[in-house]
């Protein structure tokens, strides 16, 4: 089944590529607004839910931080999955080139396949594909709870791999290493990978060139690029600044390792969402003017 879908999607995605212009199929402003609102609201809602229903938060229960983040992710998954699928299907109505089933299948299959697919199409970086893959893979990324097929364990490994990059970065910057911190670090980096690597992986797959373009050169060109690049950088920079209060001797529970860094990351992410929306808007207007 895996190979079937892989080959079919290679075929189908290779066809429209040649016809489509890059700028013509950028995401519209309204769609961008919806996306941004959903991302922001889901994050807020997740924290709120954790607070209301599980009555834990990052400050008051430092010992439960680990569990909170886990719940946080779960809430993320539970909420985001249906919404994104909904959004996706709404978005699908406007596009005839790609089939709904194919995209969902790709999403469920997870990224190993997505990467294999993308390897074939690295050269034609196509806005259409960005959007489809973002949307299609988000259910996978955020909603792996819903997928009960055999690929779950594999995609979980994939997820851990991605989290590893964040975890290593955090440890290199001084995150404490030790058995009591292990789960905190893992959970934190899972969250960070949701902010940073997962969206990019969903869109770019293994297109190394695009990865470098976004994360090394910081040169977003499409609306979707902005939507990936800015929030990811915002989350990283927010987390970086979030680490600064840690050595202060205020002896507050939130100064512990993952807490204030997580807060910083979330704040940076939300701010960057706002920024990315305005960029997308400006970009669209610019494109509009250009087309005229």
């Amino acid at each position: 089944m895996k190979t079937n879908i892989a080959t079919s999607s290679v075929k189908s995605s290779a066809e429209p590529e040649t016809k489509l212009h890059v700028s013509a199929h950028s995401i519209s402003v309204l769609e961008a607004l919806v996306f941004h609102l959903i991302f922001g609201l889901v994050l807020g809602l997740a924290v709120l839910l954790a607070h209301k229903f599980y009555s834990i938060n990052l400050v008051s229960h430092p010992s439960l931080t680990l569990r909170l983040i886990w719940f946080f992710l779960r809430v993320f998954q539970v909420i985001e999955c249906p919404i994104v699928i909904l959004l996706y299907s709404r978005y699908r109505k406007n596009r005839e080139e790609c089939s709904y089933l194919k995209a969902v299948g790709r999403g469920l299959l997870g990224l190993p396949v997505g990467r294999a697919l993308n390897r074939g199409q690295t050269h034609g970086s196509n806005a259409e594909n960005y959007v489809i893959q973002t949307v299609a893979c988000l259910p996978f990324c955020y909603g792996m709870r819903g997928s009960k097929n055999t690929h779950v364990s594999k995609s979980f490994l994939e997820k851990l791999q991605r989290a590893l990059v964040n975890a290593l970065g955090a440890v290199a910057l001084g995150a404490p290493v030790g058995t009591q911190y292990f789960s905190k670090t893992v959970n934190w980096s899972l969250m960070m990978s949701l902010f940073t690597i997962v969206p990019a992986a969903a869109v770019f797959g293994s297109s190394w060139k695009d990865w470098l373009r976004i994360f090394a050169h910081t040169k977003p060109m499409e609306s979707v690029d902005f939507m990936i690049c800015l929030p990811a950088h915002g989350a990283i920079i927010g987390a970086w600044f979030g680490a600064w209060p840690m050595p202060l001797d205020w002896e507050r529970p939130w100064q512990e390792w993952p807490t204030c860094v997580s807060y910083g990351a979330m704040a940076g992410y939300l701010l960057a969402l706002v920024a990315s929306f305005s960029f997308v808007q400006a970009h669209a207007r610019f494109q509009h003017v250009k087309r005229d």
Binding site: A172, G174, K209, R213, A216, W240, A243, W244, P247, L248
Partner: protein, 978 residues
């Protein structure tokens, strides 16, 4: 902009450095005044006027306690009290008891201390507002109470780890007269006077939230102690009130109950005193003092009125006539408590006391006795003044019998401070001696008496004010000059850096016109600049200063990640940008070296948690120290071996002059093995270096290391083979013979770099071996890691190419050096200085030598990175900024200017910024415990930078000169032959 010539540049740089040094010394002198304190303790001689031939009678001060006590009593002529109860209520503002501005305290507070207020109203007690000197924190204030002296910061700093009070003080004086002492309360007393107390029960002030138990632990012994008669001094130190303040501020609901509790204690003690007095068990004096006040929020440490307003309350003086109610509103100084108590108990006044006795507590004495007390206080202050003002003329006057104008009455005193003090003293003594000579008839001349008292007081207060101002006041003009000079030098250095960068940029443009993306926004450059401002901002926070290792590691590892991003960037060259300058191999090397940097940096961070507040956190060094000493020794040997191999490997990378390098390599190996052998044999016990053989062996190694370093430095440029002949020959065929110098210079630069490479590694190697010997055994691995980091960053830089700005790399070296400084277990507290290591290899104590060793141990890492600058210079490709036809000045400039200037510039920014921070924080609670020690470290870093850079500069210039001299000689010999 015309390019600066080499000599001009040198001149400006040296001027900047000198300006900085001057500014720094002015500031240090102004901010940390060193008071020339008198050493030793006051003895019986303090009961005599200060004389010129101050031959101290040692036999008298060696008397047994009983006889000494009798002697003091006889000499002073003041009948002393027998026992003293000193009750310290931490943080009690005098306002709470005495009110403010001649108004009684608020009703609630009056009612909270009914017994004390009734004592005050009856005249049984006299209370004073005792103004405390900043810093208003407990230990310095207790020292002021018992010694009458206001300590400077450096006095504290130079007593490295000991908190014991070594100056002359009341408790020491009491001990010499055979007193038995009991202390209940804050354990600060036990730290200050270890082993002095017969019985003690220390409570910790650590648990600020505890306001009840901390005082119950003091009071639980009180009934028992009061019933005993085996003590002469009972110290009670109640911390609860301070804790109440910290929790809830002045108006806390817990305040009134706490005051009531204190009042109960006063009542209990006073009742017991009265009972004892009735039973003829001697006179007991109860003195209730507070060490400092508190602000409305309950904090303290600064110099506001509310914080300095502390209490001095004397209960049980023999004055039952309540005609001194007005006295209770007087303001005295906290230091006045010491001379008052000394005179009341008939012991000599501590010799560094700057206080003036509180005359109100002497009311029950006769006029004669009061004047005697004043006279004793004057003599003591005069002795102290003589020590501070070397040429104080009036010190001689008593022994010269200088009483010629005693008929002329009071002289008017003006002129210089010395003259005024002198004249006031003479006025007082003249009046007093005429009073003495009047004999019996004086008893009714009350006016004479009060004029003498006034004269004495004028002298005492002037002298006391002058003395205490000298300790606490900061001369504003000195500080301003210092800061201005530092700012100016900072500006000079920065403008020089700017100039150099611009020049380099112009040269680059000439050479590599293909590079367009050079002046694009570069994250690494921005980050380096941003890091400086982050560090400066963080220095304003006391906890950031305490945990500075966190900041440096965070900054350096972020910088590593930024470099990683940059290296990734060159994998995909952006469109419209310069061509990929580097091949995949270079990028691979760069990435590997960055990963090495990150991993070793993280390991270094984990080696010592360091800091002040986080010392309890587990780290690798603690874990290792738990293991057996053999394991540590094994690790030490292995890392020593790895250091040697790394250095040899680095040497083997040099392609030219193989034979010579082989020789150097062998001597490296021999040296390294010598040190390893020493470690293997003599480091049986980790810290004991007692055996003379070990000491001798260390001394030999010191000598050999020194000879090896200096030998390499001196000899290598001479021995370095010059392969110019053929080059020269081929060139001279095509070129005219009139330009040999240019060609020589062109090639001497390549050879200079080779020789720099070898000399630089020799420096680093010898320094590492020295550190292996001196540092604690657990620090051997961090040393190795530092060397690995240096190698990694040098590999990175050597592949850097032109789009890696030189100043960024040099600043990165500086940052890594500082991060390594903290990774070796240093912090900004003086306590982490490795004092034990400073005595390695010393057969006899020498302050200078152990000071140097201490400096070497503490600044191991920054100095290592400065030495690595020599190797850095050798590997950095500067060909693209070299001008084709240039003189030696230009060559030296492109080689040396950036490394020296950038390091100096970064350091001067940090130094100047921290100076300003310190100035702004002068009233901060932690100015003496956190900010000032940090400033000492910053100053020492500056010294370290100066030394390191001069080593680098001298090495480069010497090698360059030697090589071009040899070139010149060879060139001319070739020309001769032709």
């Amino acid at each position: 902009m015309s390019p600066l010539t080499c000599s001009k540049l040198t001149l400006f740089t040296v001027a900047g450095v000198i300006l900085q040094t001057i500014g720094l010394s002015l500031f240090v002198y102004g901010f940390f005044p060193v008071k020339p304190a008198l050493s030793g303790v006051s003895g019986p001689e303090s009961f005599f006027a200060p004389t010129c031939n101050s031959v101290r009678n040692q036999s008298q001060s060696d008397l047994p306690p009983d006889q000494l006590k009798a002697l003091y009593e006889e000499l002073s002529g003041i009948p002393p009290f027998d026992r003293l109860v000193l009750m310290v209520i931490d943080g009690l503002p005098a306002e709470f008891v005495l009110g403010k501005d001649h108004q009684p305290p608020p009703k609630g507070l009056m009612e909270a201390m009914p017994y004390t207020q009734s004592l005050l109203a009856n005249g049984m007690a006299i209370g004073y507002h005792a103004k405390a000197a900043p810093p208003t924190v407990t230990m310095p204030r207790l020292k002021a109470i018992v010694s009458g002296a206001i300590g400077g910061f450096l006095d504290v700093a130079f007593n490295f780890n000991t908190q014991a009070l070594l100056d002359d003080n009341l408790l020491g004086q009491f001990l010499r007269t055979g007193w038995k002492m009991v202390m209940l309360g804050d354990e600060t007393w036990l730290k200050m006077f270890p082993g002095l107390f017969m019985r003690h029960d220390g409570v910790s002030s650590f648990f600020v939230k505890d306001t009840v138990q901390v005082d119950q632990n003091v009071s639980r012994h009180l009934v028992d102690e009061l019933s005993r008669d085996d003590w002469d001094l009972l110290i009670l130190h109640y911390l609860g009130l301070d804790h109440v303040g910290h929790l809830g501020g002045r108006d806390s609901g817990l305040m009134a109950p706490k005051l009531l509790e204190m009042d109960e204690v006063v009542k209990m003690i006073h009742t017991s005193i009265v009972a004892n007095q009735e039973n003829d068990q001697g006179q007991t004096l109860l003195v209730v003092v507070s060490d400092h006040g508190m602000t409305d929020n309950g904090n303290h440490g600064g110099s506001s009125y509310k914080e300095t307003d502390s209490l001095a309350l004397f209960i049980g003086l023999r004055n039952d006539i309540s005609d001194h109610a007005s006295d209770t509103l007087d303001t005295v100084y906290q230091v006045d408590i010491a001379p008052t108590l000394a005179l009341l108990f008939g012991v000599p006044i501590p010799n560094n006391n700057v206080g003036v006795l509180i005359l109100g507590s002497f009311d029950s004495f006769t006029d004669d006795q009061q004047l005697k007390a004043l006279e004793l206080n004057s003599w003591q202050l005069l002795r102290l003044l003589t020590a501070q003002i070397p040429g104080l003329s009036c010190a001689n006057s008593p022994c010269d019998g200088f009483i010629d104008d005693h008929g002329s009455g009071k002289r008017k005193c003006d002129g210089s401070m010395e003259n005024v003090i002198c004249c006031l003293y003479i006025n007082a003594t003249v009046l007093h001696s005429s009073w003495k000579s009047m004999g019996v008839s004086r008893s009714n001349s009350r006016e004479d008496y009060s004029s003498i008292v006034a004269a004495y007081y004028e002298f005492l207060e002037t002298a006391s004010e002058w003395l205490s101002r000298k300790v606490t006041d900061k001369p504003v003009d000195l500080l301003a000059f210092g800061v201005a000079a530092m700012l100016l030098s900072c500006m000079v250095l920065l403008s020089l850096i700017f100039h150099i960068c611009k020049e380099v940029y112009v040269n680059e443009k000439q050479h590599l016109d293909l590079i367009n993306g050079m002046h694009a926004w570069n994250l690494d450059e921005t980050f380096i600049l941003g890091a400086i401002s982050i560090i400066i901002v963080s220095m304003g926070s006391s906890s950031m200063v305490e945990e500075e290792q966190y900041i440096w590691h965070f900054v350096t590892s972020t910088f590593d990640l930024v470099l990683l991003r940059k290296a990734m960037k060159s994998l995909l060259p952006a469109e419209k940008s310069f061509r990929p300058y580097k091949g995949p191999k270079e990028i691979g090397f760069q990435m590997c070296s960055i990963f090495v940097l990150i991993v070793s940096g993280r390991t270094l961070r984990a080696w010592h948690q360091g800091g002040v507040n986080w010392t309890y956190l587990p780290d690798i060094s603690k874990w290792l120290e738990q293991g057996s000493s053999n394991q540590i020794k094994f690790i030490q040997l292995v890392s020593g071996f790895l250091v040697i191999s790394l250095c040899l490997f680095a040497l083997s990378l040099l392609r030219s002059s193989k034979k010579l390098v082989l020789g150097v390599g062998f001597s490296f190996l021999a040296l390294g093995l010598l040190v390893l052998q020493h470690i293997a044999i003599h480091r049986e016990n980790t810290f004991v270096f007692s055996s003379p053989r070990a000491t001798f062996s260390v001394q030999i190694i010191f000598a050999i290391l020194g000879i090896a370093t200096i030998g390499t430095f001196l000899a290598f440029p001479w021995l370095m083979p010059i392969s110019i002949r053929e080059m020269y020959a081929t060139h001279s065929d095509t070129m005219s013979t009139s330009v040999p110098m240019e060609i020589q210079n062109k090639y001497s630069l390549a050879e200079l770099k080779d020789s720099m490479y070898v000399i630089g590694w020799a420096y680093m190697f010898c320094w590492c071996l020295l550190q292996l010997l001196l540092q604690q055994p657990v620090n051997s691995v961090p040393l190795l890691l530092l060397l690995v980091q240096i190698s990694a960053i040098i590999v990175y830089c050597s592949y850097g190419g032109p789009h890696q700005k030189q100043w960024v790399e040099i600043a990165a070296l500086y940052y890594l050096g500082m991060a390594g400084h903290f990774a070796l277990g240093n912090s900004n507290a003086l306590a982490t200085i490795d004092v034990a290591g400073a005595f390695i290899g010393m057969s006899s104590y020498s302050t200078l030598f152990s000071g140097i060793l201490m400096f070497i141990i503490t600044y191991a890492s920054p100095f290592l990175f400065l030495l690595s600058m020599v190797v850095y210079i050798s590997v950095k490709d500067t060909s693209y900024i070299e001008k084709p036809n240039a003189d030696s000045g230009h060559h030296l400039k492109i080689i040396l200017a950036s490394p020296c200037l950038v390091t100096l510039g970064v350091n001067s920014i940090l130094l100047t910024a921290y100076t300003i921070v310190l100035l702004l924080m002068r009233n901060h609670l932690f100015v003496w415990s956190v900010f000032s020690p940090k400033y000492l470290y910053v100053c020492a870093t500056t010294v370290c930078i100066y030394i390191g850079l001069s080593v680098v500069a001298v090495t480069v210039i010497y090698s360059y000169l030697v090589l071009s001299l040899r070139k010149g000689m060879q060139g001319s010999s070739i020309i001769d032959r032709r």
